[in-house]
């Protein structure tokens, strides 16, 4: 179904111009006001508090000096449960924590929350360089693609090499970095290259936050090796924010790292929604000002609605469901999204086994035939310039 020029239940891009797209993470460290769209879903505060607590303990040591420490933040959760948003939120808190006026030397630093101009691009932090390796949407496809664009099996050496090169390339665009970094930064030996990089960061007094997407390793050894690599490089003011869909990580993390190493690792989890999240989420959108037209209002009776359990599986499912319901209401020229429409949709959208019949194995998957309930998939309809803009916050 084509998206109407609708701005409900989506993520505002830089500038806030419509359309507000679904399936986009909130990137508060990059776009002003995204932090206000944050819904304190049932499980999220626990994760955020965990992060804050851990960070407070270690933040002082996360410095680019020779003796400085780093950190590894791993967020695990099923697709659509808001891992990327949580990760970006953590990055934002990390940046904010370091930009505290007491310790920040940036004269023009703004205090958080005071954003007179919502949805505008936030000034890059002077204390932290944030490098989302595959852009803010944080999908692993780029890392797993060959130069010609085909998906290829992720191979540890290649992935690490690509991460190195991306980080170096991004940092070189940081003002003053090119002047202080030595020639070893382009060395094919990752050890030399990384040391040159951290030396340069130390001279500039900057930290580095690297955001790494979920990579489909499909292999325990590779997964462990990659996390150990991230942990090893998370040193001297470098913080790795790693996302993974692998839910078995919780059991494995104690085996991947020993007790001493675990002090430098924070593991956060995302999960399914709770019944109260329905009301929380709707109320946020009911009260949100400045949503561009066209839009529908949310009728109060919707709050009393008893939603079907399958929409609580993830925030993405809930968002998609409400977004499509709002689209329908708009098409029907209704001013409000009402309970009756939503209840009807619950019945219509109930997952049906017949939509998942096995096809002829030789026929290719056509995305148009995907059932409407499919969530967590990025629509490939973003104009090229839009995508480019998002990848370079």
């Amino acid at each position: 179904m084509p998206y109407i020029h609708c701005n409900m239940f989506g993520t505002p891009p830089v500038g806030g111009e419509p359309p507000w797209l679904p399936h986009e993470p909130l990137v508060p460290w990059c776009i002003e006001g995204h932090e206000n769209l944050w819904v304190e879903l049932d499980h999220v505060p626990v994760a955020v508090h965990t992060f804050r607590n851990r960070l407070v303990q270690v933040a002082r040591n996360i410095t680019p000096d020779r003796d400085g420490r780093g950190h590894l933040v791993v967020v695990s959760g099923l697709p659509g449960t808001g891992k990327s948003s949580l990760l970006h939120r953590c990055v934002h808190e990390f940046v904010t924590e370091l930009e505290d006026p007491k310790s920040s030397d940036r004269p023009d630093a703004e205090s958080p929350g005071e954003s007179p101009n919502p949805w505008c691009r936030r000034e890059p932090s002077g204390a932290v360089s944030v490098v989302p390796v595959t852009g803010v949407r944080n999908t692993g496809r780029d890392l797993e693609s060959s130069p010609s664009g085909h998906t290829e099996a992720p191979e540890l050496g290649t992935v690490i090499d690509r991460i190195f090169r991306t980080v170096v390339k991004a940092l070189k665009m940081t003002p003053g970095f090119a002047e202080v970094c030595g020639p070893e930064i382009d060395s094919p030996d990752h050890f030399d290259s990384w040391r040159a990089l951290t030396d340069a960061l130390a001279q500039l007094g900057r930290r580095l936050a690297v955001i790494i997407p979920h990579i489909k390793w499909e292999d325990q050894d590779s997964r462990w090796a990659f996390l150990r690599f991230c942990h090893q490089k998370a040193d001297r003011g470098v913080v790795f924010f790693v996302e993974t869909e692998y839910t078995g990580l919780e059991k494995e993390i104690d085996l991947i790292f020993d007790e001493a190493q675990l002090r430098g690792v924070t593991h956060l989890k995302t999960g399914r929604l709770d019944r109260e999240d329905w009301g929380r989420y709707l109320r946020l959108w009911m009260e949100l000002p400045d949503i561009p037209n066209p839009k529908v209002g949310i009728h109060d009776d919707l709050l009393d609605c008893e939603p079907a359990p399958w929409v609580f599986v993830s925030i993405a499912k809930l968002q998609t469901f409400l977004r499509e319901a709002a689209d329908e209401a708009l098409q029907a020229d209704e001013a409000y999204l009402r309970r009756s429409r939503v209840v009807l949709r619950f019945a219509e959208e109930e997952p049906r086994p017949d939509d998942f019949l096995r096809g002829d194995p030789s026929e290719t998957d056509d995305p148009a035939e995907e059932p409407a309930g499919t969530a967590g998939r990025e629509p490939n309809e973003l104009p090229d310039d839009e995508e480019d803009r998002r990848d370079e916050p």
Binding site: Q220, S222, W310, P353, L357, P361, S362, E370, G376
Partner: protein, 766 residues
């Protein structure tokens, strides 16, 4: 065909390859422009048995674990094992749904190259690839269902159970579901890998197969499954080696069998020429057999069809555990109807229609000869037919007769000149130093059968020889008769010399002819073309030599033993005689005066008196005449003047002594008999006229029987059972015969006569 055209003209219908090569890949493209030759199948019992098994496999319904079967086609060279195997592959390739089929023409030590280049791999056709993916998807579905069952989020909505059932019934696509319902694909993958590890019992295969649902790996994995080296991403995940070695390749087949077997699809492996492993080292053979046994177990347990061709020798040496699981189908030799059918089908195939169901232009006797001479081996039948056809066509003969058949065999099998055959013999025999023996006297220029090579003589001992006779193909009874004649003549000329013969056929010898030669000569002929000829010749000569030596030893021993027997017998007789003389001296007859013979004779009952007299007379005569030449003490005539006459010394021969003793003993026995009869007759105390009421007929019988058995213990007086060493018969022979005759019949007569007189009826016969 017009009647005036020669029936044996045009293209030879039997020309063409007589051995079948199994094709690893199904290829139905027609080659060339001419019409394809129809495949020729002669339906025999074995075909039906085999096809029945294959059809039962393909039509099996129900539990797939009871479907699996392993068939062995067991038979000698040329009986059509590969032909049958090819028929099986054709049937399998034409059946729907097409089963996955792997065909190995012949196993090789370098199994990797066979696997990589000559066996169908899933990459070779889209259907196989899709099959393979489907099979893995089935496992994926099971794992997904398992994970969803544990999921309590309600993500599947109200139709949860239906989803789970659909996944387990293989109706729903697990990957679509995993993506649509935001499942943890990494977790599914790790469960799938664990599951496949249990299923395949092989880590590398489990890793590779578990990655198959991910498109990014598919090419790499299919390449690896086709025998190529693993790519870096696969190596990183633990698939470090290509599929190689005998073990590795068989493991791959076993894994394929699991993939297809557990997803209930039919699949088959056809393995020809397993006998190749005979040429391998012991280690490779052991490896092969172990891996093969494992594969057989898998196929039986997982619902696969495995067909392999093997020769009887190897089949019987396979381990018992294999024999238990494999159903052997034995190929037998073809009989006449099948041979005729084969010939007819070839004639039909070339557009010739023989009239009246005959095999024309082959004559009836010619077909008979083909049946006999080919031993019922179809490959031989075709070769003979081809050659006979060529021969007849060359001679513009309107039909193919026995002569053409024989000529075809000679042309095919007698390529080696006799001189070459002799060289071969020399090479083999010289190695064991059996070669440089000149023929024994008088046998050097013995005429040999026509066409035979020069006979070679091997001296085993001075009086024992082996003769090796190289001959041409044995085609007729007369050829065998010639050989028999040669041997007979040689034995005749050689006299006491022992001769064994070994016939070496430089050409063709069918089983019947070989047996005939064996009947005639006592040894099986050896065929020069036999690959094991050298060994057979060597061991043949060795065992014949042994046999000759042993038989000579036996002759000497037998002579010695019989001589010793005679000596022992004589010694025994002498001892007995000395004993009896001793006894007579100790118990002189005067002490217990026996009644005079006359008086006793008079007291005998009337009916038997004459019999006793006759017998007594015969014995007396014999005693008077004595045994041996009449004795004479006339001095030896003087030989020269002045010398006194030389006394003659009479020597008593053992035999004479024994015979005389026998006569004396017989007389004493007769006397005892007479005495006993008189005693019995007079037991009553009354005269002969009285009614013999008190006499016991049983007693009479006992007396007569006693005489008879005692007589048997005496040496015969007529020398009927005389030992052969005792020389020519003496003049007293007829006397002895008479006496023996009388004695032998006496008891019988006495019993009869007295029995009649006693009861007026017959006495019981002895």
């Amino acid at each position: 065909m017009s009647p005036d055209a020669s029936p044996v003209a045009g293209e030879n219908p039997f020309r063409g390859s007589t051995s079948v090569q199994l094709e690893g890949f199904g290829d139905t493209t027609q080659v060339g422009t001419g019409p394809p030759r129809p495949p020729i199948h002669v339906r025999r019992r074995i075909n039906e048995q085999l096809m029945e098994q294959v059809q039962r496999y393909l039509q099996h319904t129900g539990d797939s674990s009871t479907r699996g079967r392993v068939l062995a086609l067991v038979g000698e060279f040329g009986l059509g094992k590969s032909h049958l195997a090819a028929q099986v592959t054709d049937v399998l390739r034409q059946s729907t749904p097409t089963p996955a089929l792997w065909v190995i023409g012949q196993p090789s030590v370098d199994m990797r190259s066979v696997f990589q280049h000559r066996v169908m791999s899933p990459r070779d056709d889209l259907e196989a690839m899709a099959d393979f993916l489907q099979a893995i998807t089935d496992y994926y579905a099971d794992v997904t269902a398992e994970l969803l069952e544990q999921d309590d989020t309600g993500r599947l909505g109200g139709a949860r159970d239906e989803f789970l059932r659909g996944l387990r019934d293989r109706r729903l696509d697990p990957q679509k579901i995993a993506r649509a319902f935001d499942l943890d694909e990494e977790l599914i993958h790790s469960h799938l890998r664990r599951h496949l590890r249990g299923v395949t019992d092989h880590r590398a295969f489990a890793t590779a197969l578990a990655l198959l649902p991910n498109q990014a790996y598919q090419t790499d994995i299919f390449r690896w499954l086709s025998g190529e080296a693993p790519t870096a991403p696969l190596q990183q995940r633990g698939v470090t080696q290509p599929i190689q070695g005998i073990q590795g390749v068989f493991e791959a087949f076993a894994v394929f069998s699991l993939v297809y077997g557990q997803s209930d699809r039919p699949y088959a492996l056809v393995l020809d020429e397993v006998d190749k492993i005979d040429e391998w080292t012991t280690q490779d053979r052991a490896l092969f057999l172990n891996a093969f046994e494992m594969l057989v177990n898998r196929y039986v347990n997982q619902g696969g069809l495995l067909v392999f061709c093997v020769r009887p020798d190897l089949w019987s040496s396979l381990p018992a555990s294999l024999h238990e699981r494999v159903l052997p189908l034995w190929l037998d030799n073809w009989e006449r109807p099948a041979t005729e059918e084969l010939i007819k089908q070839h004639l039909h195939g070339s557009g010739r229609v023989p009239p009246g169901g005959s095999c024309a232009p082959f004559s009836g006797p010619a077909v008979g000869q083909i049946v006999t001479l080919s031993d019922g081996v179809p490959r031989q039948i075709l070769r003979i037919c081809e050659g006979a056809w060529d021969h007849a066509a060359l001679g513009r003969s309107p039909k193919i007769d026995i002569e053409a058949v024989h000529e075809a065999i000679r042309t095919t099998h007698e390529k080696r000149p006799m001189s070459e055959a002799a060289r071969r013999l020399e090479r083999v025999l010289a190695g064991d130093q059996w070669w440089h023996n000149v023929p024994p006297r008088d046998l050097g220029d013995l005429p040999v059968p026509a066409g035979s090579g020069e006979p070679r003589w091997i001296e085993v001992t001075r009086t024992a020889w082996i003769v090796l006779l190289p001959v041409r193909s044995l085609l007729t009874r007369s050829g065998v008769a010639d050989i028999e004649g040669f041997l007979g003549q040689a034995r005749h000329v050689a006299g006491a010399i022992g001769i064994e013969m070994l016939v070496v056929v430089n050409g063709h010898a069918c089983r019947l002819m070989r047996r005939q030669v064996a009947d005639a000569t006592g040894t099986m002929p050896l065929v020069l073309d036999d690959p094991r000829f050298d060994t057979a010749l060597r061991s043949g000569v060795m065992s014949l030599a042994e046999r000759l030596r042993a038989s000579q030893d036996n002759t000497v021993l037998e002579k010695l033993s019989s001589r010793l027997d005679v000596l022992q017998g004589q010694q025994q007789t002498l001892l007995e005689r000395v004993d009896s003389i001793d006894h007579s001296l100790d118990n002189p007859r005067s002490l217990s005066p026996a009644p005079a013979a006359d008086s006793l004779g008079a007291r005998l009952p009337e009916p038997v008196r004459a019999h006793f007299r006759d017998t007594q007379e015969a014995l007396d005569r014999l005693l008077e005449e004595g045994d041996g030449p009449r004795l004479s003490l006339v001095p030896v005539a003087r030989t020269s003047a002045g010398r006194p006459p030389r006394p003659r010394r009479l020597l008593v021969d053992d035999t004479v002594l024994r015979n005389m003793g026998a006569v004396v003993l017989a007389r004493r026995l007769l006397e005892a008999f007479r005495e006993a009869i008189v005693g019995w007759w007079e037991a009553d105390g009354a005269g002969g006229d009285a009614r013999p009421a008190g006499r016991d007929q049983g007693e009479l019988f006992a007396i007569c029987r006693g005489f008879e058995i005692s007589l048997e213990s005496l040496p015969r007086l007529d020398r009927g059972g005389a030992d052969p060493l005792s020389g020519p018969p003496a003049p007293a022979a007829d006397l002895g015969e008479r006496a023996q005759d009388r004695l032998a019949q006496l008891a019988d007569r006495v019993l009869r006569e007295l029995g009649e007189a006693f009861s007026g009826g017959h006495a019981p016969l002895l």
